[in-house]
C-alpha cells in the first residue's frame, strides 16, 4: 500500500474499525454493519449502495434530546429506489429492553403506530450491511447513534462509514468562493442544483431530498468520468 493511501481517511477508518471490533464485544444490532468490509479506495462510486438517512429529533443535543423518527432510502447504481424507502416513528412512553427489540420482528402496523427506540435502532442497522451511510450534516445522526451506543452498550464512538452531503458541498463551495457565506442547508443547496423545492418535511422526505442531492453532487464530482469512492470520502471529511 502506498504511503499516501495509508493516511487516506478511509484507511484510517478501516484501522479504527479493526481495533474497535477487537477491543469490544459488538452487540448483535450493529454486528452486521461493523462487520462488513469497507469499500476499497478505488471502487467506483456508482457501484456502491448507499443508505441515505435523516432523523427528526426534539433537539440537537443527543444527551438531552430524543429521536422522533428515522427515514431512509437506498441508492443503487445511481438510482434512488423508492421501494427501499422506510419511515420509522418512535414512541417514547413504553420502556422496552434492548433485548426484546432484537426478538421482536417489526411489522408495518408497528411502524405506523410507532416503535421503541431500540426496535428502531435494530431495524435501521439491519439494513446497513454492505452499504454506505449518507446524511446531510451527518454529525447530528452520528451524535445520536454514538450517544445511544454509549448509553446502552457502553461503547465509545462508533466507527461508522459516513458520507456527508453538507461537507461535500462545503468543499465545492469553498473551492469557488472563500469569502462569501454559502447557504449550505439542504434546501439552499438543492436550490443551487436546480432540484425541486419540497414543501412537506419529515425524515423520509428529507432523506430523499439528501439522496437526490448526492446524485447531483456525484455528477458534479465526476463530470462524466467514473469517480473513485476514495475521492468522494476524502471530500466528505469535515474541514
Amino acid at each position: 500500500m502506498a504511503i499516501l493511501d495509508y493516511f487516506h481517511p478511509l484507511s484510517t477508518l478501516k484501522r479504527q474499525r479493526e481495533t474497535f471490533n477487537k477491543q469490544h464485544q459488538i452487540p448483535h444490532t450493529i454486528a452486521g454493519c461493523l462487520g462488513q468490509a469497507l469499500p476499497a479506495l478505488d471502487s467506483l462510486c456508482a457501484e456502491l449502495t448507499y443508505v441515505v438517512l435523516d432523523i427528526e429529533t426534539t433537539g440537537f443535543n443527543p444527551t438531552q434530546d430524543e429521536i422522533l423518527s428515522l427515514g431512509w432510502v437506498t441508492i443503487t447504481q445511481n438510482q434512488i429506489d423508492l421501494a427501499t424507502s422506510q419511515h420509522v416513528y418512535i414512541k417514547h412512553c413504553d420502556k422496552v429492553k434492548p433485548e426484546s427489540a432484537v426478538i421482536n420482528h417489526i411489522t408495518p402496523k408497528m411502524l405506523a403506530n410507532g416503535v421503541t427506540v431500540d426496535e428502531a435502532m435494530h431495524y435501521f442497522f439491519s439494513h446497513l450491511a454492505d452499504k454506505v451511510l449518507v446524511a446531510h450534516g451527518s454529525v447530528i445522526e452520528a451524535g445520536f447513534f454514538n450517544h445511544y451506543a454509549r448509553k446502552h452498550w457502553q461503547l465509545p464512538t462508533l466507527p461508522l462509514l459516513w458520507i456527508d452531503t453538507l461537507c461535500l458541498e462545503k468543499h465545492f463551495s469553498t473551492a469557488i468562493d472563500h469569502y462569501n457565506d454559502v447557504d449550505l442547508t439542504l434546501g439552499g443547496t438543492r436550490k443551487r442544483y436546480g432540484l425541486p423545492e419540497y414543501n412537506s418535511h419529515n425524515a423520509l422526505v428529507d432523506a430523499l431530498a439528501a439522496a437526490e442531492l448526492l446524485l447531483a453532487q456525484q455528477k458534479r464530482l465526476s463530470r462524466g468520468s467514473k469517480d473513485s469512492f476514495g475521492r468522494l470520502y476524502r471530500l466528505s471529511q469535515r474541514k
Binding site: L82, Y193, G194, S200, A216, K219
Partner: protein, 621 residues
C-alpha cells in the same frame, strides 16, 4: 407503511395527466416502484437499449429534449412531461432511435414498464387513460419545441415590451447637454436625435464611452458629430420577433419605437432578456462564445426553434432567409476561429467563401453546405496542409451542427475547391468560355459567392474577372438561359396530380426544382445581364427593374410569386418538423387548399411567362 410515505412524490404524480385519473391507493403502489435518477446537462438517456428494463419517464425538474437519430428535434420536455410511453401503443414503433438529452440538469422519475403492464392487466380500464395519453402526447409533444407561452412573446407587439423612457434631443445640442438629458432628466441609456423634425440619429451610453471618452472628443461639440446616423427604428405594432431579428441582423442593442415620426419608446436587448427564454433569440451571441464543437452542437435546437418561430410568426421569407444565413455564418466563423486557436495563425492570407443559397442569404431548414477557400497566390505546399485541416474541421463541425455535407462535394474540404486565387480565376475563365454541362453545374454553384471569413478582396477580384469573362463571351448568357429554361413549372394541379408540361403526372410537387430554382435562375440571369453584384434573389430582380430590363408589372408579379412560394415551402417544412419528419421539398397536392391551388397555378404561370421573356431577350437564337 403509513399515509405519509413520500407525500411529495405522490402529490407530484397525482397532479399529472394521466396519473390524476388513478385512485390514490394505485398511485401509492406505483410510487413504491419509482426510481429516481439525476442527469446533468448534455447527458442523454438511452431509450433504445434492450438490456435494461424499459421505463416511463417523468420529468420532475429540469428540461429534456427528444431528438430523432438524424438530429431532428421531436419534442422539448419540462417538469411534469412524460416520455418513453410509446410502448403502450402497438402501432407506433418509432421510439426506436429516439434520444432524450438533458438541456438542463434534470431529476427524472422512472416507472418500470413492467409495473404499468401488470397494473393494466389487473385493471384494463386504466390502460385506456395511458393509451389516449400516448396518442395525445405524440401529437402535442411535437409542437412544444417552444411552449405557447414562450411563443407568445415572439408574437407580442413591440409596444407591449418597450419602455417609454427615451431621451429626445436635437442634432445641434452639445454632447454634454445630451448626456445630461440622458442621465439626469430621462435616466435612459439612449437618446434619439432630431433635425428639422426628422429623426436623423441615435446615441447610446456605449457610444458615449466609445466615441467620446475613449477618443477624448470635446464634449462641447454638437452631438451629430458622434451619433449613429439613420438609425434603425421599429413601430409599436411590429412584432417583438421582428425587432429581435433586426437586432440580430444588424447587431444593435437599442431600437427607438417610432409612430408617425414621433418617438414613443425604446426597445433594448435587456427588455428582451428580462424574460430569460428570450435569450434564445440571442443565439448568435451564444455561438460567438462557444469553445468547442460539442457546445455548438447543443445550440442546434435553439436554431430550429428560431426558424420555427420565424415561420409561425409569418415573418417575410426574405428576413427568415437572412436571419438563418446570419446564424449559419456565425457557426462557420466560430468553427474557423476554434480551429485557428488550435492550429495557430494561418500561414497565408485566405478567404472562406460560401456559395449557393448561403451566399444569397436564402438559408432555410434544408440548406446544406456550399463552401470554398481562396488562398493567396504565395501559398506553399506546406501551407496547404494547414488549410486542409481547417476545412475538414469546419465542414465536419458544421455537419455535426446539422448543416449537412454537400452531396456534390462543393466544399472547402475538397482539394479542387481549396485553391489559390489564380487557380480560381482560371476556373471561372474556363467555365465561362466553355459552359458545357459539368462546367455549367460548377459555375451555377460558384456564380454566387460571399466571404464569411478572411480577405474579402479575393471575392471582389473573382467577381470582377467573372464579369469581364461574361462580357467577353456573348453566348454565355444565352447558354445559361437555355439551361435555366430547360425545366418548366407545372401547368397546374388537377385531381391531386401535378400536371407537368410534358404531360407527365406526378403525385408530389417538388417545389424546389419546379418553382424556386427556376425563379432563382431567372434572377441570376437578370443580375448578370445588368452587371449587378447583388446576390439576393429579390435584390437582383430589383436591380434588373431599376436598369429597365424588367418591367414594373413583371417585377411585381415575379416578386409576389417568389414570396408566395417561399412562404408556402417554409410552411411545408414547419409542418414536417412538427410531425417529427425530416423536412423536404416534396409537397403532396392533397394537402393544398383551394387558395394554395389557385395561387400556385398563378405563380407557375408567371414563372413560365418570365422564362419565355428571358428566352426572347437573352436566348441564343
Amino acid at each position: 407503511m403509513d399515509d405519509s410515505l413520500l407525500p411529495n412524490v405522490i402529490q407530484f404524480i397525482s397532479q399529472i395527466d394521466p396519473f390524476d385519473k388513478l385512485p390514490k391507493n394505485v398511485l401509492r403502489e406505483l410510487a413504491q416502484v419509482i426510481k429516481i435518477i439525476y442527469v446533468s446537462q448534455g447527458e442523454s438517456v438511452d431509450l433504445t437499449s434492450d438490456q435494461q428494463e424499459k421505463h416511463l419517464y417523468i420529468v420532475r425538474s429540469g428540461a429534456m429534449e427528444q431528438r430523432k437519430k438524424n438530429g431532428v428535434l421531436r419534442a422539448r420536455l419540462e417538469t411534469e412531461d412524460l416520455f418513453g410511453f410509446t410502448f403502450l401503443d402497438s402501432d407506433v414503433d418509432d421510439d426506436q432511435g429516439y434520444q432524450a438529452i438533458a438541456i438542463e440538469h434534470c431529476l427524472l422519475y422512472l416507472i418500470p414498464h413492467s409495473a404499468l403492464q401488470s397494473l393494466f392487466n389487473k385493471t384494463p380500464e386504466y390502460a385506456e387513460h395511458f393509451a389516449s395519453q400516448a396518442q395525445v402526447r405524440l401529437n402535442s409533444a411535437l409542437d412544444v419545441v417552444w411552449s405557447n407561452r414562450e411563443k407568445g412573446l415572439f408574437i407580442r407587439k413591440v409596444s407591449d415590451v418597450a419602455s417609454g423612457r427615451v431621451a429626445v434631443v436635437t442634432s445641434d445640442m452639445s454632447i454634454q447637454a445630451v448626456a445630461h438629458e440622458m442621465r439626469m432628466i430621462k435616466r435612459t441609456s439612449c437618446a434619439v436625435i432630431y433635425e428639422n423634425d426628422l429623426i436623423v440619429g441615435l446615441i447610446t451610453d456605449r457610444d458615449m464611452t466609445k466615441r467620446v471618452i475613449a477618443e477624448a472628443y470635446p464634449i462641447d461639440k454638437p452631438i451629430k458629430d458622434v451619433m449613429t446616423s439613420s438609425p434603425l427604428i421599429v413601430s409599436p405594432d411590429d412584432l417583438v420577433l421582428h425587432a429581435a431579428s433586426l437586432m440580430m441582423q444588424y447587431n444593435v442593442r437599442n431600437l427607438p419605437v417610432v409612430e408617425n415620426n414621433r418617438v414613443i419608446g425604446l426597445l433594448t436587448t435587456s427588455h428582451l432578456v428580462q424574460n430569460h427564454r428570450m435569450q434564445a433569440i440571442f443565439l448568435i451571441e451564444k455561438i460567438k462564445y462557444a469553445v468547442s464543437v460539442k457546445e455548438l452542437v447543443l445550440l442546434t435546437p435553439e436554431r430550429q426553434a428560431i426558424f420555427e418561430a420565424l415561420v409561425e410568426g409569418k415573418v417575410i421569407p426574405e428576413t427568415i432567409g437572412k436571419v438563418m444565413s446570419m446564424i449559419f455564418d456565425a457557426y462557420t466563423r466560430r468553427l474557423i476561429c476554434i480551429m485557428i486557436d488550435q492550429l495557430g495563425e494561418p500561414p497565408c492570407e485566405f478567404a472562406w467563401i460560401v456559395a449557393g443559397s448561403h451566399a444569397r442569404n436564402e438559408v432555410h431548414s434544408l440548406t446544406d453546405q456550399d463552401s470554398a477557400i481562396v488562398l493567396a497566390d504565395n501559398v506553399t505546399a506546406n501551407d496547404r496542409i494547414y488549410f486542409k485541416h481547417l476545412a475538414d474541421f469546419v465542414t465536419q463541425g458544421l455537419d455535426r451542427c446539422d448543416y449537412p455535407l454537400c452531396t456534390g462535394n462543393y466544399m472547402a474540404s475538397t482539394d479542387k475547391w481549396c485553391q489559390p486565387l489564380n487557380m480560381w480565376q482560371q476556373y471561372y475563365k474556363k467555365w465561362v468560355a466553355n459552359p458545357e454541362y459539368e462546367r455549367l453545374l460548377n459555375i451555377s454553384v460558384f456564380l454566387e459567392i460571399r466571404t464569411v471569413f478572411g480577405n474579402a478582396n479575393f471575392e471582389q477580384l473573382l467577381r470582377q474577372s467573372l464579369h469581364s469573362h461574361i462580357l467577353a463571351n456573348k453566348e454565355f448568357l444565352g447558354i445559361l438561359v437555355k439551361d435555366a429554361t430547360r425545366t418548366n413549372p407545372p401547368l397546374g394541379i388537377f385531381n391531386s396530380l401535378v400536371l407537368e408540361k410534358g404531360g407527365e403526372n406526378k403525385k408530389t410537387l417538388n417545389i424546389k426544382k419546379y418553382a424556386i430554382n427556376l425563379i432563382i435562375d431567372l434572377a441570376r440571369i437578370y443580375a448578370l445581364a445588368v452587371g449587378s453584384d447583388a446576390l439576393h434573389t429579390e435584390a437582383r430582380f430589383e436591380a434588373a427593374n431599376k436598369a429597365g430590363v424588367l418591367s414594373d408589372d413583371a417585377f411585381k408579379n415575379i416578386m409576389g410569386s417568389y414570396r408566395f412560394i417561399l412562404t408556402f415551402r417554409f410552411g411545408h417544412q414547419l409542418a414536417a418538423l412538427k410531425e417529427g419528419k425530416l423536412p423536404d421539398n416534396h409537397i403532396n397536392p392533397d394537402t393544398f387548399g383551394s387558395f394554395e391551388r389557385k395561387h400556385l397555378k398563378d405563380a407557375f404561370r408567371i414563372i413560365a411567362d418570365q422564362q419565355d421573356a428571358a428566352k426572347l431577350r437573352f436566348g441564343s437564337h
